[in-house]
Each structure stands twice: as structure tokens, then as C-alpha cells.
């Protein structure tokens, strides 16, 4: 799609974030989707199989003719496929499912499209890079953007020309999530290499720098595998941290940041005609600010604020049930130690 109309906003962090690379959780449900697809398959597969009968089907249709009943059955996929073939031929201008008689053409289109896709895929950088499709000289292409593992600061940038000098060891790092609920864990994964050669059997430490502190500390360790990779689980997080991988020899990967989302829960109790709503913030700290907002039409209006007590709770008093339901939202304001968090509740109508 052309982005001409969006050009003034392409540097906007919000637009960049909206178009950020896909996150793993956004691909959850793949199995269910595939299951749905499979359930839709049998009719199509049956049709393709019978289409291969070809001439036999054409003979059958001559005997049946094109009665109104046949045409109606066509739309319900109730006819034998050869019959449908012929009906399709007769009703082709109608916006009905593609006829099996087009299947051969369809397969050719598939083949052509697949070849185009292979050429497109070859233009996209992958690692390890795929071998060139042919041995002759080809114009160099700039690899399309991919999500690269974060490179160590010490790793030389890839160059278009070969670099004869022996490369220094380098270590990539990637984190399984940049945002976790309080007490959540993340996995740091990385790869230790010298140039393109993996460096197996090296001890790697995961180190964290919690928000508000100035000293890195090692929290887990392991050894690189035969392919130079390492995967380390970081202990449960209760505040924002920076993480990195470190070798025993002092090679340090780039830092990655992980923010912690406190968990808010709301409970209520009657107090005359009012409701006392207690907010518990797991991951919040005494003194953290809570804000109560009420939905008025499409806008949220701030109506009160409070702060967390020593037991990590705060309270608000709201009117009891009235003529219409009222929606509320409590926001725990972000601090250096955690990101903001929300909980919503509603007081129903009388």
C-alpha cells in the first residue's frame, strides 16, 4: 500500500508502535484456525478428485440437463462434482464459487505464484542465508527488513565486501517479552559467535539491572550449545529491569528492557447507598498514585485520586446503583519501577 498520505507521521513513535513487528502472543490460536480450515476442506478435496474423472462427468451432465432443481442444488454443493462442473460452465457469469473446471488453470496460477513467491523470498534476508538459486553473477539486492536478533555492540556491522580480518567474538540477545505481568518471567536467548562460527561450551550469564539500582547482578547462567546458542530464564520480575548476557570473559551483549505490569484487582462492599471499592495492586508500592475515572459518554472523566497504602491497597467510594449503569476505571500511574495498569468495573442500574 502507498504510504504517501502517512509520510508526515512515519517517524511518529505511535505509528511505529502500531506497525511494530509481530509479537508471539499475536499468533496464538494457530491450531484452532488450522482446525477450522481443515473442517472446511472435505468438500473441496472431493470435488478435485472427481474433476480428474473429466470426460465421465461431462457425459453424466448430458443426461441430467439443467433443470431448476439442478441449478438450485448447485448452490448448495449437493450435486456430484461433474454435474457441478457443467452447471458452473452454464452459470459462469454468476458470482458463485469457482468451478472445478478451472482447477487446472488454478493450479497453473498456483505454480506461477509460488515461483514468484520463491523469488520474493530469496530477496528477503533470512538466517542462515539461503544459497543463491543459480551460480551466475546476480545483481546484489538489499535484504528486506527482518527482525534481526539484537547485535552486540562489539559486533562489526555487515559489510557488502568480504572482510579478511579475523572477526571478534560477538553475542546476540533477544528477550521473549518486553512487557510481563508482575511475577512473570522472561527468557533471554542469544548466540555467541566469532564471525559465522558458533562458539560452543562457553559459560554465559544473564544479568539484570532493576529499576532504581545501579549495579548489575547475575541471575542465571548456562553454557552455549553446539550452535553457540544459549537460552536463560530470568527469575520472576517484580519491577522494570534491563537485561543482558555476559560471558565469563567479559563480552557483553546489548541491553534489553523489560517492563512490569502490576496486577490490579477490585473488590467492593456496600456502605449505605454507596459502594466502597478497594483496589489491590500487586506490583505497586506504597505511595503509588491511583486515579479513579468515570465514563461519561465516550470520554473518561477523572473524579478522584488516591495512593497505595502500606498493604498495597487503595480505596474509593462511589455512588450505589442508580438509574443507569456507571462504568469506572482505576489506573495505577506508572512509576520508574512499573508501568501503568488498569482495572475496570461497573455499578449496574437499580
Amino acid at each position: 500500500m502507498s504510504d504517501d498520505d502517512l509520510t508526515p507521521f512515519l517517524d511518529d513513535p505511535l505509528v511505529q508502535a502500531l506497525r511494530a513487528p509481530v509479537q508471539e502472543h499475536e499468533l496464538a490460536g494457530e491450531d484452532a484456525a488450522l482446525s477450522m480450515f481443515r473442517q472446511s476442506l472435505p468438500a473441496r478435496r472431493r470435488r478435485r478428485a472427481i474433476t480428474r474423472a473429466g470426460v465421465t462427468g461431462a457425459g453424466i451432465i448430458l443426461g441430467l440437463g439443467l433443470s431448476g432443481g439442478v441449478a438450485a442444488a448447485y448452490t448448495t454443493d449437493a450435486l456430484p462434482d461433474p454435474v457441478q462442473n457443467a452447471v458452473h460452465a452454464a452459470l459462469d457469469p454468476l458470482p458463485l464459487p469457482a468451478p472445478p473446471t478451472a482447477h487446472a488453470r488454478h493450479l497453473r496460477q498456483v505454480a506461477r505464484a509460488e515461483r514468484r513467491a520463491e523469488r520474493a523470498a530469496a530477496r528477503v534476508a533470512t538466517h542462515p542465508p539461503s544459497p543463491p538459486a543459480r551460480s551466475g553473477p546476480r545483481p546484489s539486492r538489499t535484504p528486506a527488513a527482518v527482525v534481526p536478533p539484537v547485535q552486540s555492540n562489539t559486533q562489526p556491522r555487515p559489510s557488502a565486501s568480504p572482510t579478511p580480518a579475523a572477526p571478534k567474538p560477538s553475542m546476540t540477545v533477544a528477550v521473549s517479552a518486553a512487557r510481563v505481568p508482575v511475577h512473570g518471567q522472561v527468557v533471554l536467548a542469544g548466540r555467541l559467535t566469532r564471525g559465522t562460527e558458533p562458539l560452543p561450551g562457553h559459560t554465559i550469564y544473564a544479568a539484570e539491572l532493576p529499576a532504581g539500582e545501579s549495579t548489575w547482578r547475575r541471575v542465571s547462567s548456562g553454557q552455549t550449545g553446539s550452535d553457540g546458542t544459549i537460552s536463560l530464564t530470568v527469575p520472576p520480575l517484580t519491577r522494570n529491569v534491563r537485561l543482558r548476557l555476559v560471558t565469563a570473559q567479559g563480552l557483553v551483549s546489548r541491553q534489553v528492557a523489560v517492563v512490569v505490569v502490576p496486577k490490579l484487582t477490585a473488590t467492593s462492599a456496600r456502605s449505605g447507598n454507596e459502594r466502597v471499592v478497594t483496589i489491590h495492586a500487586d506490583g505497586g508500592r506504597p505511595g503509588d498514585e491511583l486515579v479513579l475515572l468515570r465514563r461519561d459518554g465516550t470520554a473518561w472523566t477523572r473524579i478522584a485520586s488516591s495512593s497505595l497504602a502500606s498493604d498495597s491497597t487503595g480505596q474509593f467510594v462511589v455512588p450505589g446503583p442508580g438509574a443507569a449503569p456507571v462504568h469506572y476505571l482505576v489506573r495505577l500511574v506508572a512509576t520508574a519501577r512499573h508501568t501503568a495498569s488498569l482495572v475496570q468495573f461497573a455499578v449496574p442500574a437499580r
Binding site: D5, L6, Q16, R44, A334
Partner: protein, 196 residues
């Protein structure tokens, strides 16, 4: 600055057409290619437009897609438009259904925790604005504006297609998207939260 594209988008721009044809021929890999390329965008769109159950609406959307896939005619661009049109209709249906449900005073069990929050200055230093933050910010816009941005920026549909989906003109869509993005850039949302 060149436009940022995700891995999936970069890879699939070249082969979505092929994947579509293969999926229509009953090929699972083709369907999965389509799904993996479009599901994340669909979810992000529905997190702005699809109420409190975007995953359910997305599932309903794909259900209709697989049911009608064989009859679909068009290329990957047409498919994308078809997919988001279905999603929009399913989201509207879900909204009507929600409106009929009784409300109760309940504690949210956390489903919103990951969806609605605002970045602190500290976070912006520590990390770029996350997609969750951006979606939460987008939801502070009036619904009609949020929908335009979601379709244009998230779903990556061109202006004319967005106009066709929402029943407007390309000019109005262009102006609406600009106005919305300018509003967001100036201070993360309109006057959604007012201090009394």
C-alpha cells in the same frame, strides 16, 4: 525514513498471492501463511475496534473466511479488504450483543492489564513505545477516528479501500486519519480524561 515493516509483512508481500491461491486449493500451508500474515494485524485492529473480546471476533472472522474462501475471487489485496470488512461486521455484531448483556459490579480479572496503560517517561527511555501502549492510546480517540486509523495504519488498507469500508470518501478518510494522528502526536489523545 523508510517505512518499517514486520518480518511477516516483508516476507509475505511477495507470496500472499500464492498463499491465497494455495489456500483456495485446499493447501494448509497456504492458509497458514495467510493467517500468520494477517492475524496479528487483525487482532490489533480488533483491539481498537472489536470491544472486549477481540480474539473471539477474530475467530468468528476467520470462520467466515474459511467457509467462503473457495468462492472468493481476487488477489491478496482484495483478500485483505475482504477480511477486514468481515471483521468490522463481526465486531459490530459483537458490540450489539454486548449491549444486550446485563452489567454487574465485578472485578476485572486482569484481561485489561496488558491492554490499557500509558507509557511513563522512564519507559520511553527504557524502551520504545510498545504496540499495547499505542493501541491503548488509539482507543482514546473518538470511535470513528480510531476506526479510520486502525484500518489505514494497522490494517494497512489504502485510503480508497478504507473509504469503501466505512462508507466515506477518500478525501474525508485522508483528512480524518491526519487529524487523528496529529491529535495523538500532540498529546496522546483528545480530551478523554478531564480533571474536574
Amino acid at each position: 525514513m523508510p517505512r518499517q515493516r514486520s518480518t511477516q509483512e516483508a516476507v509475505l508481500e511477495g507470496d500472499l498471492d500464492a498463499a491465497l491461491l494455495r489456500a483456495q486449493a485446499g493447501d494448509e500451508a497456504g492458509f497458514l501463511t495467510l493467517w500468520r500474515a494477517l492475524q496479528p494485524m487483525l487482532l490489533r485492529f480488533l483491539r481498537v475496534y472489536g470491544g472486549d473480546a477481540p480474539e473471539d471476533v477474530a475467530s468468528d472472522t476467520w470462520l467466515q473466511v474459511v467457509r467462503d474462501l473457495q468462492g472468493f475471487k481476487g488477489d491478496a489485496t482484495d483478500f485483505r479488504r475482504w477480511l477486514f470488512t468481515i471483521a468490522r461486521h463481526r465486531a459490530i455484531d459483537a458490540g450489539r450483543s454486548r449491549a444486550r448483556r446485563p452489567l454487574a459490579l465485578v472485578a476485572d480479572t486482569g484481561s485489561l492489564d496488558d491492554r490499557r496503560h500509558e507509557p511513563s517517561a522512564e519507559e520511553q527511555v527504557m524502551a520504545r513505545m510498545s504496540t499495547d501502549d499505542a493501541l491503548a492510546t488509539l482507543r482514546t480517540l473518538p470511535a470513528a477516528q480510531a476506526e479510520l486509523v486502525a484500518l489505514r495504519v494497522l490494517a494497512d488498507l489504502d485510503v480508497a479501500t478504507v473509504a469503501g469500508i466505512v462508507g466515506s470518501t477518500p478525501g474525508a478518510v485522508r483528512v480524518g486519519v491526519h487529524r487523528a494522528l496529529r491529535t495523538l502526536a500532540q498529546g496522546h489523545g483528545p480530551k478523554a480524561v478531564q480533571v474536574p
